[in-house]
Symmetry: C2
Subunit: 248 residues, 2 copies
Amino acid sequence: MRYIESANNPQVKRWKKLLTKKERDKTGLFIVEGFHLVEEALNAGRVEEIIILENVDLPHGLDYGATPITAVPIDIIKLISETDTPQGIFAICHQEQPTITYGNSFLLIDAVQDPGNLGTMIRTADAAGIDAVIVGHGSVDMYNAKVLRSAQGSHFHLPVIKGDISEWISELHKRQIPVYGTSLENGEAFHNIQPTDSYALIVGNEGNGVSKDLLSQTTANLYIPIYGKSESLNVAVATGILLYYLRA
Amino acid sequence: MRYIESANNPQVKRWKKLLTKKERDKTGLFIVEGFHLVEEALNAGRVEEIIILENVDLPHGLDYGATPITAVPIDIIKLISETDTPQGIFAICHQEQPTITYGNSFLLIDAVQDPGNLGTMIRTADAAGIDAVIVGHGSVDMYNAKVLRSAQGSHFHLPVIKGDISEWISELHKRQIPVYGTSLENGEAFHNIQPTDSYALIVGNEGNGVSKDLLSQTTANLYIPIYGKSESLNVAVATGILLYYLRA
């Protein structure tokens, strides 16, 4: 184990930069924080480097292989932490953007802005047994710390990739997988659709929903009836209702 | 319209105190922020007083009746705002705790801690046409600003009351309404339950779920199958899946 003491160490500056999307995009790396996420990242073989608070024990029973491990004092932990009460462990991970040539069920995410929503949607897709999540270009960065925290490790459980939703719709049509948009207007009530083995669901921006252009390319557009007086559902809740209905 | 200029005005101190649960409990009041929530509160007849930033126009087309309205400078707005970019309008509202003697569908919330989750659950119950939400004693305060924001006005659409979940279960049994707990273990898969006109659903704490004591008092306990590798679903997402399934 290596020890870095100074916050001016170039290594520390490199870690700190990973808190920005720009640097994550440039390097193809991202940083996860906390025991649970570090364990998930290790199990997925995605860890390049571990950073740990001095005097904190590395979790037992994990396969660290030849992963470089660096101990640091609390002031460096605070520099790279995005939580109020850091657990004192981080992993630098590499992004993956596999080519998805298989799979029957997909979640396509169009311009979701709230990191908590995006993370919760990735976690929900994982729970629902979806084969891959495609995050469209207008969405919040999926390697944002809050997204990673809300997803609770699901980034490491199924392919979560960046993609052009419109190109994906064409591709799914070619594979004869029905693509369902979601819309508050001019759609079909979701429970009129017969669940099938293969399907793709598109969910959209918190305020504007799925873009009209995308809705015009789908097999059908679904809505969730509102029986009370609220104007809409939270997008992550709507995603859960639809993913569980469509696969049931 | 009255004008208050000084942050030392006792009225301003009274408003500011409403940011604490203690004061809300003591006075039976709470504060909502932003045009949308103020409008919902006015429509529901729950507003005692409106506070508005000087030079901001009161929204047109609303029935203000004899509601006192006070204009204040930006530094007072900042004192009572809990958002980064205040819209400059607030309403002081009164809490309501009606006796619920009617209704077929209930959501019972046991010790949910995250304000965003609680608010989203109230919003989801509203959308699903639930007749009343009972917030158990161990939960975050339902008049917390983040809860109100996430619920997007649903506090004003259906009865959302504080209550003892165990007493409610007894009461619902007397009314012959089936009460479903939620549990990761020892339950029935939710889609084995036949949807019915009347039902009550209990959802629980983010880490520990519904308390064992409550689970022992239910008609049945349900779980949502996890088809992937995530450990669980977000509690608000789970609430949406179950409320929409049970009423479908």
